[in-house]
């Protein structure tokens, strides 16, 4: 869908790289610019690239340039007119190239010099405001967005009432920031189609989390401070079964009735204290005791099969192996096998979209090696000869 869009990416963390991956997934030409010899900090300079790098950089091409070197910056300035979007994460700029906030590279002001350029910069707390410039990491940004305070609710809180709040694991905050950045880039491109002009788009990772997590703010204004103790569903939720965990969540009346039928219409369910959703919410602890008792003796696969056809929402908790192996994932083509020339074959989640009714999944290319396309791209975009490129390399500008 984005076949005519050219994106240059300078990233050292997860967010801008994930934005680039998503744009590439829809067909944009994404060129990753890295500093030689270490490259993107998510690479491993001594071995095959780690899974995080392999995942984040599918579908991209890669060049090197040293932005701390004046000739390297000049190269960037020569490249920019060829691109529609510049994606940067400012932490990456600082850690990889050492040029964050450098007068030689005023990222926010690049659209003044390149009027058609859309610059999207991600940073932990944004380009303005009292916390501008504060340090961030996956873990701290997640907890700055409100969901960290609440995630360990329900059964987790019952089991560990005194433990600290948990994170979501992995890189959820970085991915969410990247998706926000990719969306902002497209909005600015659509605007450019009308105005002919690009602009600077400031994406704060904290804002991106809070945007997705506005409910605790709404509830607070309504007089309710949500905590891990109070946030759990009044009944339903995560439940242990004979060999794992399932989620059971009958929010609507017909779903509850369906569940009661599945359990064989037990006598307790006919008690008038459980007659309506409001009644069950009031006696949630008791409802859950009954539900857990029933779930505990059943196998997860059996409950998973029930959930496939029942009106009552029941689903098994799967680990990554199980999630990959489901008939649903296989039939839908949710994963693609990609053979990386150095790291070897792996199973990669695909873009979650199918285009057209009954559409086919979108294939992606393996992550590029460091500087793999330097000669090709400087040649085709800038018309540079091999000798010129060698000259830059010998001066330390690549």
């Amino acid at each position: 869908m984005l076949g005519d869009v050219q994106v240059l990416e300078v990233s050292g963390q997860v967010s801008a790289a994930f934005a680039g991956k998503l744009l590439a997934g829809f067909g944009a030409e994404v060129v990753k610019l890295e500093r030689y010899p270490a490259g993107d900090p998510t690479r491993d300079p001594d071995g095959p690239d780690p899974a995080l790098f392999l995942f984040l950089n599918t579908g991209k091409r890669a060049v090197t340039a040293n932005l701390a070197h004046p000739d390297g910056r000049e190269l960037l300035y020569r490249l920019l007119p060829c691109f529609d979007v510049l994606l940067v994460d400012t932490t990456g700029l600082a850690e990889e190239h050492g040029v964050e906030h450098s007068p030689e590279l005023p990222v926010e002001r690049l659209p003044e010099q390149f009027p058609r350029l859309v610059v999207v910069a991600t940073s932990p707390f944004g380009a303005t405001g009292p916390y501008h410039g504060f340090a961030g990491s996956e873990h701290t940004i997640f907890h700055a967005g409100g969901e960290g305070y609440l995630l360990g609710a329900g059964l987790l809180h019952e089991q560990f009432p005194d433990r600290p709040p948990v994170g979501a694991g992995g890189h959820l905050a970085g991915y969410q920031t990247g998706l926000t950045a990719a969306t902002g880039a497209l909005a600015a491109l659509l605007d450019r189609d009308h105005t002919g002009r690009g602009q600077f788009v400031d994406v704060s990772a904290q804002d991106a989390q809070l945007s997705l997590n506005h409910l605790p703010v709404m509830r607070f204004f309504d007089g309710v401070l949500e905590t891990t103790a109070s946030r759990g569903f009044t009944f339903g939720g995560v439940m242990p079964c004979a060999d794992g965990y399932v989620e059971v969540l009958p929010l609507e009346e017909h779903q509850w009735q369906d569940l009661v039928g599945l359990m064989g219409n037990p006598q307790w369910a006919a008690d008038e204290r459980f007659a309506t959703g409001r009644d069950r919410a009031r006696h949630g602890r008791e409802v859950n005791q009954h539900l857990r008792e029933w779930m505990r003796t059943r196998k997860r696969d059996q409950l998973a099969a029930i959930g496939q056809t029942s009106a009552c929402p029941i689903a098994p908790y799967y680990d990554v192996d199980e999630a990959m192996a489901t008939p649903h994932a296989r039939e839908r083509g949710s994963f693609q096998r990609i053979d990386h020339p150095r790291a070897g074959p792996g199973s990669y989640p695909r873009m979650p979209f199918r285009l057209g009714t009954g559409g086919e999944p979108i294939d992606e290319r393996p992550a590029p090696g460091l500087g793999e396309h330097t000669t090709e791209i400087y040649g085709s975009y800038l018309g540079m000869s091999a000798a010129e490129i060698d000259g830059l390399r010998s001066r330390g500008a690549l």
């Binding site: 873990h139 305070y149 600290p164 497209l186 904290q206 929010l251 929402p313 689903a315």
Partner: protein, 399 residues
């Protein structure tokens, strides 16, 4: 006045619950005209009490339903379905997240709608996608996240998986927004529309993507990190003064470590070469973590976080709804702001997640009551007369 990024784009919004409405909320915040089609005969969860979630009232202001118009329409009536087709034909975008098959049953699926308007962009969000063995599964965020593998990454290694809640619906909605914008951009170039089938479960899987690659490339199974961050030490959520008050800290670099030693007044650690690496410090967690939590427990979460940030160490208060609602940084950026309505009063709201240097974004808009914009939608957009609209309201087609 500066232009809004999606100025001139009209969205027919058939969405409900959480994921779909978030997709259209973002489109509205970017300046599109979003027309929510909803019915009093089958109310959305936002339009009624939600005792199981612990909400025994209908919110006066609903962030998720803000930034749009509301047209009431009973899609169970043939006339209602025809009006919906008319509205789609006069819109650039259709967004829906009914169960797969419902739009086709109503005569509102893409083949029908695109026959009337070939450049229509339509995005369907569903828990498991439009086709496949699990397509009929009902899906709220905790369920499709459980199936996706994502929930297995969070939580403590010795406890249950994490239950992903509304924010997971919302991020799937944001994937929907992204797809709408990509399809609009394609339409700009080709003049053609696009249908996009978005599976929330696959979006959740993508948000755990590195773990699948790690598992299949290196064979390593992901480890649950609890309250910690992999690759940082010390790293965790540390108790502060007060009830349920915490600060999240993450020491990734040696420079940060040296500064932390200064803060904790442990000069002997700065010269201990074994502590110069993350792995070395991990081996001495039993010494380091108590020292850090001893220091944080004598401070409030903001005091602790600011002291660490002054030394360049990533640290934040683990922010509650109250912290977010009062935070000066978020107010200054407009991420937290006040919605005001002359009749309905005021309510806190959350702003869009982008700051554009040139484009304007709409001011905060109150969430509409059901059918509040019927005159505009059926009169101006569809061209019906006042009498026709009255008649449709009386016969409960617009209901």
């Amino acid at each position: 006045m500066a232009r809004r990024p999606l100025q001139g784009v009209r969205v027919a919004d058939f969405s409900w619950y959480a994921a779909g409405p978030f997709a259209t909320l973002m489109l509205g915040m970017l300046g599109a005209e979003v027309i929510r089609i909803e019915s009093r005969t089958k109310r959305d969860t936002h339009r009624k009490e939600h005792p199981i979630y612990g909400r025994d009232y209908v919110p006066a202001f609903d962030q998720l339903l803000s930034h749009r118009l509301s047209a009431s329409l009973n899609l169970r009536t043939p006339r209602g379905q025809e009006l919906a087709r008319e509205l789609a034909a006069r819109s650039d975008v259709v967004v829906e997240n009914f169960r797969p098959g419902v739009m086709a049953r109503l005569g509102l699926d893409y083949p029908v709608l695109s026959a009337r308007r070939s450049d229509l962009v339509m995005v369907s969000l569903s828990a498991n996608g439009q086709q496949g063995p699990d397509a009929a599964r009902p899906g709220y965020a905790p369920l499709f996240s459980a199936l996706s593998g994502l929930s297995s990454l969070g939580g403590y290694p010795d406890g249950p998986p994490v239950e992903m809640r509304n924010p997971m619906d919302h991020v799937c909605g944001l994937f929907g927004t992204f797809a709408v914008l990509a399809a609009l951009r394609q339409r700009q170039v080709t003049g053609r529309g696009q249908y996009v089938d978005l599976a929330n479960r696959d979006a959740a899987t993508l948000l755990a993507g590195h773990a699948f690659v790690e598992r299949t490339v290196s064979g390593r199974a992901p480890e649950r990190t609890g309250d910690r961050e992999a690759g940082a030490e010390p790293s965790g959520v540390y108790r502060c003064a007060g009830t349920d008050r915490w600060v999240a800290v993450s020491v990734r670099t040696e420079e940060s470590w040296q500064r932390l030693c200064g803060l904790l007044e442990r000069p002997e650690w700065t010269v201990d070469p074994a502590l110069g690496t993350v792995a070395g410090r991990a081996g001495r967690r039993a010494d380091i973590d108590p020292a850090l939590s001893g220091w944080t427990s004598r401070r409030g979460p903001y005091g602790a976080a600011f002291a660490l940030q002054q030394r360049g160490i990533p640290a934040v208060p683990v922010m509650s709804g109250e912290d977010l609602a009062r935070d000066p940084h978020l107010w200054e950026r407009g991420t937290v702001r006040m919605a005001r309505d002359p009749e309905r009063g005021e309510h806190l709201s959350v702003g869009p997640p982008w700051r554009f240097s040139r484009s304007a974004l709409p001011p905060v808009q109150w969430s509409p009551s059901i059918g509040q914009d019927n005159r505009y939608v059926y009169g101006q957009v569809l061209g019906l007369s006042d009498e026709e609209i009255d008649e449709l309201e009386t016969s409960e087609v617009l209901h």
